[in-house]
Every structure is written in C-alpha cells, then in structure tokens.
Symmetry: C2
Subunit: 248 residues, 2 copies
C-alpha cells in the first residue's frame, strides 16, 4: 500500500543515540507528559532514558516486536502503521511533537500492534519499560500524566473508528484537511505536510481514490495544486464533514 513506509533503513548509520544530558531537559520538560511534573520528579523518571535521533525513513520498530521502550516524540514526525497479512498495510496515526506512543504495549507487556517509522528526521526520548511501572507507582503525578496522555490518544482512536464506519472518503479527507489548521471559519491556504500516498493511507483510501476525492471536494470550496490546498470557506467545509452535531 505504501512503498514509502515499507522500505526504510533499520539502524541507519546516521542514527544517533546517547543518554540524557542537562541541556536535554529543556527539550522535553515542556511536553504535555512532563509539564505537570516538578524538576526532581522529571529527573527521576528520565534517569535511565535516552535521546535518539533518526533520519527520515528510519524504522523505529516493527509490528510484533517486544515493547521495551516507551517512546516520546520530541521533534519530527513519526507514522504508525498496522498490517494484517504482511503486505497489506495501513496508517493508524501520524504523530507530532510531544506525542507519546505505544504506551499501551509497554504497560501491558505485549508486543507492538503497530510498526513505527519516521516521516522526517526526528528526535525521540525513550524510557526503558523495565523501570516504568515502578516509576509510575512512585510518582503519582507521572501516573496521572500518563493516564491523561493515554486517554487523549484513546479518544482520537474512538473518533477514527466512528469516522471509518460512518463517513465517506470525501468527508474523511475534509476532516484531515481541517485538522491541519486551527481556524474554523473564513478561508485559508495550507501546505500538505506529507506526500499524497501517505495522506491516502491516513485518510483510509488508495492514492488513486485520493486524487478523485480531491476533485470531488472542489465543489465544497477546496482547490488543490501539488502540495498546496486552498479552502475558500472553512465553515462550509466543517458542515460538509461534520453533518451538524459533531463533538470534538
């Protein structure tokens, strides 16, 4: 389905990993998972963590592998992919700075249900699963932050299930485009952050269908050219994909 996600060099030469230095804290202390923790707690929780840099296209881990590290994306973009029969692959989520991922696998001690690959050069903080449970037990604030993070991810996934079951491809594309801008009325011009093969995976259609869907939503005021998309009336587009009574 997605050639770009199927390839990717494992352990590329440029991958760079090291333990945490004092100046690193500034890079992640403000992330949602850590912003409620005091400095002492933060230091304890990340004591055995490491900072890893990846190049674009590197594979972080594959579906089915053992979950040994909790991943926190500091900067860059990471795609989570699920597959069922080896070749068939789909994009479950595209992550952005601050996102925590595969917490569920680490906490349940089960293998990853998804694989992960960088979409751009990325920097990650990784915490070893071995001491995560005891850290959570000893730092209630950390446990609460994890619960909050997991809850938010859970709700995103619920929305995705509902959209997949109840919405058309055009509506899902419109939702995706709306997710790229905070604006909810007026017009806007935005730049697609990924290539269209990737976006097709995210929206849940084939690339060919995405092309046609981009044509179809012209009549909803969406003009696209290459990587640039102009939306003439955000409110109208919201009506089109939310159909009235949405809860975000």
């Amino acid at each position: 389905m997605d050639a770009d996600l199927c390839r990717g060099a494992r352990h590329s030469k440029e991958m760079h990993e090291r333990s945490i230095a004092a100046e690193d804290f500034a890079a992640f202390a403000h992330l949602p998972l850590f912003s409620t923790l005091d400095a002492d707690c933060l230091r304890k929780v990340t004591a055995e963590g490491k900072i890893v840099r990846y190049q674009r296209g590197d594979i972080l881990f594959g579906q089915g592998e053992e979950a040994n590290w909790l991943h926190i994306l500091i900067d860059g973009q990471v795609g989570l992919t699920g597959s069922v029969s080896g070749s068939e692959e789909t994009i479950v989520a595209i992550l952005k700075s601050g996102d925590v991922f595969i917490a569920a696998a680490v906490l349940t001690g089960k293998p990853y249900l998804m694989g992960a690959k960088t979409l751009t050069a990325s920097r990650l903080l990784m915490l070893p699963s071995g001491r995560l449970l005891s850290d959570l037990r000893e730092n209630p604030d950390f446990a609460l932050a994890m619960l909050t993070s997991l809850s938010k991810n859970f709700r995103s996934l619920v929305l995705e299930v509902k959209d997949l079951k109840l919405k058309s491809a055009s509506q899902r594309l419109a939702l995706y485009l709306m997710s790229l801008t905070p604006k909810r009325e007026g017009s806007t011009i935005l730049h697609l952050p990924h290539n269209k093969i990737l976006i097709a995976g995210r929206v849940g259609v084939r690339p060919e269908t995405l092309s046609r869907v981009f044509l179809a939503i012209k009549k909803e005021g969406v003009v696209s050219e290459n990587q640039t998309v102009a939306i003439t009336d955000l409110k109208r587009l919201a009506d089109f994909c939310m159909e009235g009574d949405e809860i975000i």
Copy 2:
C-alpha cells in the same frame, strides 16, 4: 441502523440505585480493575461510589453528555454506540462483566464520545469523577490498574481500526465468531449472544449484508441456523480471517 439501540427508556421505573454496602464488595473486588488493590485501598476508592441496576434496553448516557461517573460493569452487557449525524449510529464496542468504560472521557473532563445502553439487565459500579483524580493520585496501585485497563481497551481499539481498514466483512464476522470461543482448533458449536441486528452493528455491516455474509462463509466451514453456529474447523477459519501473521 439499530432500532434496538435507538429506543430505550431513560430512567425506567425499575432502575435502582444505592450506595455501597459491605456485601457488595464481593461483587466487584475480584474484577481486574480492583483485584490488585488491598481491602483498605478498595474501600477508600469506592467510598462515594454507587451500585446501579438497569433493565435491558435502558440508556445509561448519551453521546455528548458530561462525563460525571466512571462506569464499571459488574454483570450484564452494555453496548457503546457512536453517532455522527444524529440518525447514523454504529456500535463501537460490546462490553462484558468487569469492563471499565468511558474512563478516557472522565479523565480528560470532556463529554462522552459514545452513548451507552444496556443489552441485558445489568449491574454497574459507578465512581464519581469529582474525586477520581485525587483517588488516583493517592493510590498508586489504583492508578496503575486504571492504566492497565485503559491500555487493554486501547489495544482492542487499535485492532478494530486495523480490521476496519484492512479486512472484508466476511473476515470481520469470522473474527467476531472466533472471539466467542477460546478454542483455536477442532470444531465447535456456539450460541450467538445477541440478535443479528446487534451483531451486524458490531461487525460493521448492515443486517441484510450480515445475512449474505453468513451464507458466504459457509464455504469456510461455518454453518448457522438461527442463533446457533457450528464451526467445523477453527484453524481453517483462523487462517481465513488472520491471513497468516496475526498478533493477538
């Protein structure tokens, strides 16, 4: 989509709610969420909870309402439904004894993304959201149990997203049937726990399509008559719906 889930008497006369008595603890102390807690911790955490009994078909809450109570299903069955345009409705999950639900809404303080309705007479333990955060902070074991519970639910949802995107209706029905039995080889006879309208919603198809899909998977060794289904070769059915390399 599902007449049975759209109706339902709110606050039926038979609904019965009361605070927790000593003899109640036996009913829920062994549930996964509580089994790791000591008696003292369990008493504190459930101090302001209540036990509620519902009849079949009662609506527990509607999508979009404020999340004031964490729900734990002690016995019975509850269906979670999502809707996007008022009429269109889909079943996101069917819950069983011991399941915790809408934890994510309670923890993030946001409105429910799904509605809930009993499928059979049910008994629930409900904990007020007001003191949940402080209870979690003061009882690390409880916080960990919540994290575990939420993680398991999260992983089920990931599987559902993957199945919806990558599998056919027949494969999803086969997966659903396999979820009704712990056996993984040989043959078995099982009794459908819900009516077919509900199962159709769960599988993600219309009732008419479910009928046809039941016909279609006869060639995979699934013979159905009314509420009874015979599977002649579970391994073969597993091959059919997993296509090789599944991770459960």
